[in-house]
C-alpha cells in the first residue's frame, strides 16, 4: 500500500522530470553545433558530459513515466508510441554518449559530421516523443490547426436562443468531466467532449441511454455515494451540483439525448426551464423548496472569539451552542449556583450580542445584580424565575427589541410591571405564575 503510493507519487513527477532530458539533449546539440565555429570550438569538450546528464535524466524520466502509465487510463496506441519512442530516446542518448568515450573511439572513430547528424536525429526523435507525451496529457487536438481555427460556440444572448445540449449539457460535461474523459486521456475509454463519444460510451458500455435514466451509466456514477469507488468525478474533483444533475437527467429522459433542442421549445411550466435559465445566468437562483429557511436575526454577529466561551464555562455557566453561524448561544446558570452576579456579568458581557437564550432561574439575583440585561440586545428568551427581582427589572426588558418570552414566575413582579412590559411589542409571552400579578 505504502509502496504503491510512492509509485503514484513518483509517477506524477514524470511531467516535471521529463523536461530535464529535453533541456540537456538540446544543450548537447547546441554545444555540438556551436563547436564548428572557431570562437566556440572549446564547447565540444562539454558535449559528452551534457549528453551523459541528458541520458541519466532520460532514464529517470522513462522510469517515472512507466510508473505513471500504470495508474492512468491513457489511450493505448498513443501511450505505446510515447513509451517506445521515449525508451529508444534514452537508449540512443546512452549509445551516443558511449560513442564519445575514449574506449569506444579507440575501436571505432566516429566522424564528427556523423555524430552531429545522429545527435540531430535524436532531437527529432525527442520532439516526436514529446509531442506524443503532450498529447496524452493535454489531448491530441491540443496542438493542431483544427483547434486554432475552431469556432467557440458563443454564449447564447438570451434563453430563447439557447440550445439544451450545446449550451447547457455540453459545457457542464466539459467543465466537470472532460478533464479525464477526452481524446488522449480517455479514462475508462470514455470520451465526453462530444455527442458521438457520449453515446459510444466506454469500458462499461454506453454512458447514456436516451430516455432511460436507470441504465445510463453516467447518471449512476455521479449519483453514487461520494465514498463509493465508482463515484465520479473521481479523486475528489468537484462533483456535479444538483442543478447540473437535473439538467443532464432531463436531457437524457425528455430530450432523448439529442442535440439541437432549443430551450424555447420547452414550455415555461416545465420546471427544468427555470433551472436552465439559472444555469445560463438569465435568472437569479430560485428559492429552493426543500431548504429550511429560518428567520435568524441579522443583528447577531457572525462569529466571536471562541476563548470567550471557555471563560463562560469557567465562570460556572452552562453554554449550549444554538448555531455556529451566526454564533447563537443558550446560556444557563445552574439554579442555586452561588455564583455572584458580578462574575456572571463580566463573563457574559463580551458575548452580549450572542446570547439568545439566557436562564438565570433560582440564583437569588436582585434588580441591581442584573443591570447588564439591557446589553444583551439580541436576547429572545429570558428566564428570571425564582429570583427576588421586582418591577424595576421591567425597564431593562422593554429595551430588548428581540425579547419574545420572559419568565418572571415566582418573582416580586406585579401587575404594574406587566403593564410596563406591554410597551415592548416584541414580547409575546410573559410568565408570572405565583406572583402578585396573578
Amino acid at each position: 500500500m505504502i509502496l504503491l503510493d510512492i509509485f503514484t507519487f513518483s509517477g506524477r513527477l514524470h511531467p516535471l522530470i521529463v523536461h530535464l532530458p529535453i533541456g540537456f539533449i538540446l544543450l548537447a546539440l547546441l554545444f555540438n553545433l556551436l563547436s564548428y565555429s572557431r570562437n566556440f570550438g572549446y564547447l565540444q569538450q562539454a558535449v559528452p558530459l551534457t549528453l551523459l546528464t541528458g541520458f541519466i535524466a532520460a532514464v529517470l524520466a522513462a522510469v517515472f513515466g512507466y510508473l505513471l502509465s500504470l495508474k492512468g487510463d491513457y489511450d493505448v496506441d498513443a501511450l505505446n508510441r510515447h513509451k517506445v519512442s521515449g525508451i529508444s530516446l534514452a537508449a540512443i542518448a546512452g549509445l551516443l554518449y558511449f560513442s564519445t568515450t575514449e574506449f569506444f573511439l579507440k575501436e571505432i572513430p566516429v566522424p564528427r559530421p556523423l555524430f552531429s547528424a545522429l545527435l540531430t536525429g535524436l532531437v527529432v526523435l525527442m520532439s516526436y516523443s514529446g509531442h506524443q507525451g503532450a498529447g496524452l496529457t493535454h489531448g491530441h487536438d491540443y496542438f493542431t490547426m483544427q483547434v486554432l481555427l475552431k469556432q467557440e460556440r458563443p454564449k447564447p444572448a438570451n434563453l430563447e436562443s439557447a440550445l439544451l445540449f450545446e449550451d447547457v449539457v455540453q459545457p457542464i460535461l466539459q467543465t466537470k468531466c472532460a478533464g479525464c474523459h477526452r481524446s488522449g486521456k480517455s479514462k475508462g475509454d470514455l470520451v465526453l467532449v462530444d455527442l458521438p463519444g457520449i453515446l459510444k460510451g466506454g469500458k462499461t458500455g454506453a454512458a447514456v441511454q436516451p430516455g432511460n435514466l436507470d441504465s445510463s451509466e453516467l447518471i449512476r456514477r455521479v449519483m453514487l455515494d461520494p465514498n463509493h469507488k465508482d463515484f465520479m468525478p473521481a479523486d475528489g474533483k468537484p462533483p456535479l451540483t444538483s442543478n447540473e444533475l437535473q439538467l443532464i437527467s432531463w436531457w437524457i429522459m425528455e430530450g432523448k439525448a439529442e442535440p439541437g433542442k432549443a430551450l424555447a421549445s420547452i414550455p415555461d411550466t416545465v420546471a427544468i426551464k427555470a433551472v436552465a435559465a439559472q444555469y445560463l445566468g438569465f435568472s437569479p437562483a430560485p428559492a429552493a423548496t426543500h431548504d429550511i429557511t429560518q428567520n435568524i436575526n441579522p443583528d447577531i454577529p457572525a462569529t466571536a472569539d471562541t476563548t470567550l466561551l471557555g471563560n463562560l464555562r469557567k465562570a460556572g455557566l452552562t453554554v449550549r451552542l444554538m448555531l455556529h453561524k451566526p454564533l447563537m448561544l443558550d446560556v444557563t446558570l445552574p439554579a442555586g449556583s452561588g455564583i455572584p452576579a458580578a462574575n456572571v456579568k463580566t463573563s457574559i458581557l463580551p458575548l452580549a450580542k450572542h446570547i439568545i437564550w439566557l436562564n438565570l432561574s433560582g440564583n437569588g439575583f436582585s434588580d441591581n445584580d442584573l443591570d447588564f440585561l439591557s446589553a444583551l440586545s439580541n436576547m429572545e428568551k429570558l428566564r428570571l424565575d425564582k429570583n427576588p427581582v421586582t418591577d424595576k427589572i421591567c425597564g431593562q426588558l422593554t429595551e430588548l427589541k428581540h425579547l419574545e418570552a420572559a419568565n418572571l414566575n415566582e418573582t416580586g413582579i406585579t401587575a404594574t410591571g406587566l403593564d410596563q412590559l406591554k410597551k415592548n411589542r416584541a414580547i409575546k409571552r410573559v410568565y408570572s405564575w405565583r406572583t402578585a400579578a396573578r
Partner: protein, 504 residues
Amino acid sequence: MCDHHEEKFRPNTPDFSKLNRQAGRRNFLTQTSMGIGALALGSLLGNRLFSNAPKPVIGNASGDMEQEILKAIPHFAPKAKRVVYLFMAGGPSQFETFDYKPVLEKLRGQNLPDSVRNGQRLTGMSSGQALLPVVPSAFRFNQHGESRTWISDLLPYTAKVVDELCIIKSIHSEAINHDPAITFLQTGNQLPGRPSIGSWLSYGLGSDNENLPTFIVLVSKDASKDQPLYARLWGNGFLPSEYQGVQFRSGKDPVLFLNNPEGYDGADRKEMLAYLTQLNQLQNSVYGDPEIDARIAQYEMAFRMQTSVPDVIDVKDEPDETFDLYGPGSRDAGTYAANCLLARKLLEKDVKFVQLYHQGWDHHGSLPANMPGQCRSIDQATGALITDLKQRGLLEDTLVIWGGEFGRTVYSQGKLTPTDYGRDHHPRCFTMWMAGAGVKPGITFGETDDFSYNIVKDPVHVHDFQATLLHLMGIDHERLTYKFQGRRFRLTDVEGKVVRDILT
C-alpha cells in the same frame, strides 16, 4: 492510602502480565514502524498522530469522520431543548379520540367498500372475516377551545389544553403489527438493531445536565400489559452504549442500589472509582474497545446519580395542588400520572429526552368497555403535564409528543353488536399530537377520508415525523449519521421530510 500513587500506573502482578505484555508489544510496534517508514506513514497517519484531535479507537476507524459530523451540529437554531414523548403503546384508536367521523353513523354495519380499502393488507386477526362492518365511535365528540377542535368526551382534560396542541391526523406507518411498528417509530427501521430517537439525540447533542442521564425512560405500572415493551426500544443500537435510554423502575425506588449498603459510609467510593477507571483505562490502552469507554462513563454517571436521583424523585416539597392537578394516581410512584409529574421534574433539570410508555391500547375487542378506562388512565395527567409545563414557562423550549405506533380500523374486528365492537391494526393513518417548542399551537394538520382509512391531505410519514423532531432540536436529519458495518445510518434511513407547515 499508599505512597506509590504518583507512579505510572502499571500493576506488576501475575494477573496483569498478559495485559502488560500486550501493551509492551503494542508500544514496540508503534515505535518501530515510526522509525522505518516515517515519510510514508506520515502521509497516511499524519493528521491522526500529530493533531490534537481525539485519538480514534480500534474497531472505530472512522473516529475522525464522527467528530466532523458531531462538530457541525447544530445545523439549525433549535426551538426545543428537551422532549417528552408520551408513547401510547398498543395503537390507540383514532376514532374514539381525535379523528371525528360523524358520517360513519349512517354507514354503521355496512361492509367496508373495496374502493376505500384499496388492497390494504389485513392482519391475520381479521383477514378471515366475511364482513368488515363499518363502526362509528361509541362515544360522543364535542368542540373545544378557541380552535373549536373536535375531541372525544373520553378525553376531557386533554380537551381543556387543546389550544396548545398541534394535532396531526395524517401520520402513517409501514408496519401493521406491534413489534415492527413500534420499532419503526422508535428507530426508523422495522427490524431491531438501530438506535432509538433518544439515543440519536443524546449522541448528537450531548448532555445539559451531567448528573442525570440524557435519555430517561419511564414505564407506567398502571396499564394492562397486553403488548410487551422491551429495553431495545430505548436501546443505543450501534451507537456507544452510554447513549442508551436509562429506565427508571416504576416504584418507590426508581433506581436500585443508590443507597450505600449497611456498614459502609461511602466515603472512599470516589477513590475506589478513580482506581477502577485507571484499571479500565489500562485495559482500554491495549484493546481500544469503545465499550470500555462507555463502561467508565456509566460508572461515573452511576456515582453522580447517587445524589442527583434521590433529589429529583423526591416529591415531598410538591404542594397538594400539584397532586390535584395530575390526578389521584400521582401520589403512587410508577403510575402514568406519577411518571408525568416525574417527567416534569426531570425536564426542569434539563434532562434532554424523557420517554413515557403507557400500554393497553390494543383494543381488538370490547373496545366500548375498555376505552373509557384506558383514556381515563392518561387523560388528566397528560393535560396536567401540558398545563404545568406551560405555567412554569417550560413549554417554551420543551416539545411534548403523544401517540402510538399505528391506528385502528374503521371496521369492527369480530362481531359488531349494538354495544360491542373491536378494531384491528391500521397503519395507513393515525393521529398523534405535538405541543410546545416550535410547533404551531391549536392547529389540526392533515385530513383523512370519511372512513379514517386513507389520508386525503398532508400525509406525514413516520420518517417525516422523526425528521421534524430532529429539526426542532436543531439537527438536519440527513446529516446526523453514524457509520456502522460499512454503511452510514441515520434515524430517517433514506427518507423523511421536515413538516414545515406545523413549525412556528
